[in-house]
Symmetry: C4
Subunit: 124 residues, 4 copies
Amino acid sequence: MESIGRRRWAIAEGYIPPDSSYDSRALLSHEAACILNAGDADANIEITLFVTDRDPVGPYKVQVGARRTLHLRFNDLEDPEPVPRGTDYASVFESDVPIVIQHTRLDSRKAELALLSTVAFSAG
Amino acid sequence: MESIGRRRWAIAEGYIPPDSSYDSRALLSHEAACILNAGDADANIEITLFVTDRDPVGPYKVQVGARRTLHLRFNDLEDPEPVPRGTDYASVFESDVPIVIQHTRLDSRKAELALLSTVAFSAG
Amino acid sequence: MESIGRRRWAIAEGYIPPDSSYDSRALLSHEAACILNAGDADANIEITLFVTDRDPVGPYKVQVGARRTLHLRFNDLEDPEPVPRGTDYASVFESDVPIVIQHTRLDSRKAELALLSTVAFSAG
Amino acid sequence: MESIGRRRWAIAEGYIPPDSSYDSRALLSHEAACILNAGDADANIEITLFVTDRDPVGPYKVQVGARRTLHLRFNDLEDPEPVPRGTDYASVFESDVPIVIQHTRLDSRKAELALLSTVAFSAG
């Protein structure tokens, strides 16, 4: 399929709730960047995290295969360092091929779920 | 009315919760693509689903009449195959006339409802 | 202030939950189009509603003063006819000056609140 | 990093719930503008608030350092005057360098959380 999307994306909102009411991976509080690579070439993506009081951290490197989607949880990023819980951050994604990014959070600090989602801001 | 929208749309986030706390169609956990065809010609739409570990599935074919809206539930797609529950996916919509697509999920895995919604990413 | 926005907007998703757990206006299940007119001229807006199985309804006429915001509840639209509850619809807004529209729903069918919001799709 | 974003943003939806079920800052009902300044120059931002029945209020002045993010709570704005609770408003952000803005609300009027988020409308 013809590729769709942009090479550069920003998510200004980032916050991984420090607590969860559940142990299962599906219901654990988490924040995700849902990445779609609809094109015929693998996407090599570098992520930079911005915080409030020190220099940015990164790049985190992620690959999404051709014609695949990856629902990346920020909770799972470990290298160069884990994403702190309960802390405000923002992120920029730079890919070598066009991709589409949607931002989602599931918050299970309380027993009932809360959800948010928005398409990220794209440029370039 | 003059048509409004684009011909090509992507929803990078897709996930149909595997459980529901209710049996009624209105409160069943579901994921929807709300499609608006404001123009004077019927829209013939092909949907391709992307997953994490195998080639895309599709096309699913949907028609939305002139000057009509369709709130399509991914739960209802059956041909060429049902959309798996509890699995990450993404989708691309290709229409022969301009349309507008908004993505919504109602999650009733717990007794209280959680909602998300965002306008899909448009191109072309 | 210099005006900001577009003249033509679409909200593909529309659904007023038929029930509420509360009587107060603030917590009643409702769907809103939050309209910002940051410019120096009043905005005259015509809204057309699209449904699944018959011709569009409208125009509904709304005015938003210069340098004002209006959080319009679809629940409050009465002329030419009320918006049906528990029914899928979509909407197109046409203004004579640039405006910004954001779509929000508060769902209180269950005792706890669910919220969604997204900037509408803009064109022209 | 190369800057990303726009200089002018609007959030048409604004409402700080008047009540909260919790005292902790994290779970207090609040509305936030998450601002990302990925570029190499500090961002000087002026915010104007629009309401339904009187002239706009502002500017509120905020600075976001180079390569930093700020998750600004409207609850915290005090000068020239606090943002009223339980009242509809909208906002326009004007920056001297490109930034990205995402809008989020946490509503804890009831014991369980409700969340919404969307990328703001950008222009210029």
